[in-house]
Amino acid sequence: MSEVAQDNKRKKKGRTKKMSTRVDFTPMVDLGFLLITFFMLATTLSKPQTMEVALPSKDKVSEVDQTKVKASRAVTILLGKDNKVYYYEGTRENDIDPVLIPTNFSPQGIRQFLIKKNYDVMVKVRELKDEQEAKKLSDKEFEKRKDEIIADKRAPIVIIKGTAESSYKSLIDVLDEMAICNIGRYAIVDISPFDLELLAKTSL
């Protein structure tokens, strides 16, 4: 194959044959691509995405705090088996149980409800986004103003509770919904017997 290592024996003394200076690069290309393949397979090009969570510290959360959530603002989301999700608004008042509504993670499911519930904030964030595109607000400014909008006093407060059968995927999905619907205040808390009771009633 190679054109270099040929014709070593000299036929006539004193007269060197003029050798071609061209080298066959095919094996070198082979080697190059082999190494490329190796590096492509052995590396991670994209860094994994992450989601930042900040939970309240233990000493701050108390039963008092949880009940302080105004019933009109509170939305409780329960994560069930097989990615099912249930929600109810408010809490038990005058011995009337809130209605537990089963739904799912499709855009028509829990998201539609949360968007409706959080409509004012959604509109404001949308306006802010438009402004950012038009006036080129800096990211920092945008984040700051978004935080202000999200911290609206009338916006819903979402309480996320997972049952023993639910999976991690549901939790991520529901946290995603919080981000999509611009819910500023949400908490992940333990499920209470009351919620389990409601769930049991609904699934019957």
Partner: protein, 204 residues
């Protein structure tokens, strides 16, 4: 009719250009790559819309497989040595310099502390066998996970905790982990997700 004479052309192509391209790509991949780290268990993360990238350094990765077994990986070889020494001291075990060296080269580990010596004596291939991937205990009776995290945090307080759990990991396991982290006042952490395949979430 004149005879059509096909001129015999040489089939040899100049490979120099191709070689250049191959090595250019090779250089690119070599410089941009960071190698995929082998994980003791296969974990497929749930997808989310979050687009925050995980930082490169000072990561304390907590890996949770679908059965709920917990593995920890910290970066920095010196930090790892110190971590094992302190962890050993907390559980009345002393590790030899050889074992410390071995530990500092281990990316992920997931064995109870009393089996750590046996784990470090194993060959790297053996460690990844399913029967040797036991997970770190994080029950309320024997919460070694909590100690690992708090000692690691004591060594390097810049460690960011990143939880990488499988889609199908049961929620109670995650809740238990979060509870453990809450106990030691670690309330901010990242959840590693993969990017959501195109889905229209920009609707109002």
């Amino acid at each position: 009719m004149p005879k059509v004479k096909i001129k015999r052309k040489s089939t040899a192509i100049d490979m120099t250009a191709m070689c250049d391209v191959a090595f250019l790509l090779l250089t690119f991949f070599m410089l941009t790559s960071n190698f995929t780290q082998k994980e003791p268990v296969a974990v497929s993360t749930p997808s989310s819309i979050s687009e925050i990238k995980i930082p490169d350094t000072n990561i304390m990765l907590i890996l949770v497989d679908s059965k709920g077994k917990v593995f920890i990986g910290v970066d920095g070889q010196e930090n790892r040595k110190e971590l094992l020494t302190k962890m050993g001291a907390a559980y009345n075990t002393t590790f030899s310099p050889a074992e410390l060296k071995e530990f500092s080269l281990t990316n992920r580990f997931g064995v109870p502390i009393n089996l750590m010596k046996a784990f470090l004596a194993m060959k790297p291939e053996e460690r990844d066998l399913p029967e040797n991937a036991l997970g770190i205990p994080c029950d309320s009776l024997d919460n070694q996970f909590k100690n690992w995290v708090s000692i690691a945090k004591g060594i390097n307080k810049d460690y960011r905790i990143a939880i990488k759990a499988d889609k199908t990991t049961p929620y109670p396991v995650i809740k238990k982990l979060m509870g453990s982290l809450q106990d030691i006042n670690e309330n901010r952490y990242n959840l590693i997700t993969s990017l959501e395949s195109s889905e229209d979430f920009e609707q109002l």
